[in-house]
């Protein structure tokens, strides 16, 4: 059952990812990306990291995709079809990515992974305790750095998006 579900999710993700990077309507390619991200959240649910799946759904489906849809609506006419790359560039990109994928898959399949059988379910408390741990193997410093980064990004985004008007008000 889980196997069938995984293959279904994998098929959905790959098909929609291809549609997202080749669709000529911009808004549609954003929605296709949303399906890929939800498929990724499904994978997180299947490996029992429910907190991570919830974060993925909240941040990506709820935040990033809405932000990108807003920017598409602000800067782009929806009926307009996107320019396609020249055939040479397309084939070069396809060759390059196929080559990279082949190399990576070769590396993956030639490495003997020692998978450990387990059905561990991770409690959210454990994740929170690890993130706020100040001892060995604790992640308090990156956690705080991320919070400062988010603050800086928030201020930066406001300043950049306001642009001209902010200068004139001085």
């Amino acid at each position: 059952m889980e196997r069938i579900l995984f293959y279904f999710l994998a098929l959905v993700m790959v098909v929609f990812a291809i549609k997202a990077v080749t669709s000529r309507k911009m808004l549609r390619s954003v929605i296709y990306l949303l399906f890929v991200l939800m498929g990724i959240a499904g994978i997180y649910f299947m490996v029992d990291y429910t907190f991570l799946a919830a974060v993925q759904l909240a941040v990506y489906a709820g935040g990033v995709i809405v932000l990108i849809i807003f920017s598409v609506l602000l800067v782009h006419h929806i009926e307009l079809r996107l320019d396609v790359a020249t055939a040479t560039r397309k084939w070069a990109a396809l060759l390059l990515s196929a080559l990279g994928a082949g190399l990576t898959l070769f590396a993956i399949y030639s490495y003997p992974f020692q998978a450990v059988e387990n059905r561990n379910v991770t409690e959210i408390e454990v994740i929170g305790a690890g993130l706020l741990n100040t001892g060995d193997g604790g992640y308090i410093l990156p956690f705080e750095v991320i919070s400062i980064l988010l603050l800086a990004v928030m201020i930066g985004a406001i300043v950049i998006a306001k642009g001209e008007k902010l200068e004139n008000n001085k």
Binding site: A17, V21, V47, V75, R89, T104, L105, A115, L131, I158
Partner: protein, 105 residues
């Protein structure tokens, strides 16, 4: 771990997603669609962290922490990129890569 699914199959899917993102990044000419491709690449690598964590080192949670940080940085990156794109659209009324030739505003 997912019953009946080996780590190789999941890594195959994430590799495909990653290189589909690379393909999109190389062929797209519009900045927003390039941003979408970058999101795809970042997500593919985030799943890799989680899967390695779950299949190889289930006692630790390092992969989960790194995925959370990747998600946070990706959100920050896309917010800044959208701000830059909107500002750029005000200045040159276009978000095509070819039309943005100078860094002077």
């Amino acid at each position: 771990m997912i019953a009946g699914v080996s780590i190789y199959e999941i890594l195959t899917v994430t590799t495909l997603l990653f290189f589909i993102g690379i393909y999109g990044f190389l062929t797209r000419k519009n900045m927003i669609t390039m941003l979408l491709s970058v999101e795809l690449i970042l997500n593919a690598s985030a799943i890799n962290f989680v899967i390695m964590n779950k299949y190889l080192f289930p006692e630790n949670l390092e992969g989960v922490y790194f995925s959370i940080f990747i998600i946070a940085i990706a959100a920050a990156e896309s917010a800044l990129a959208v701000a830059i794109i909107i500002n750029l659209y005000k200045l040159v009324t276009s978000v095509e890569v070819e039309d943005t030739e100078t860094m002077k505003y």
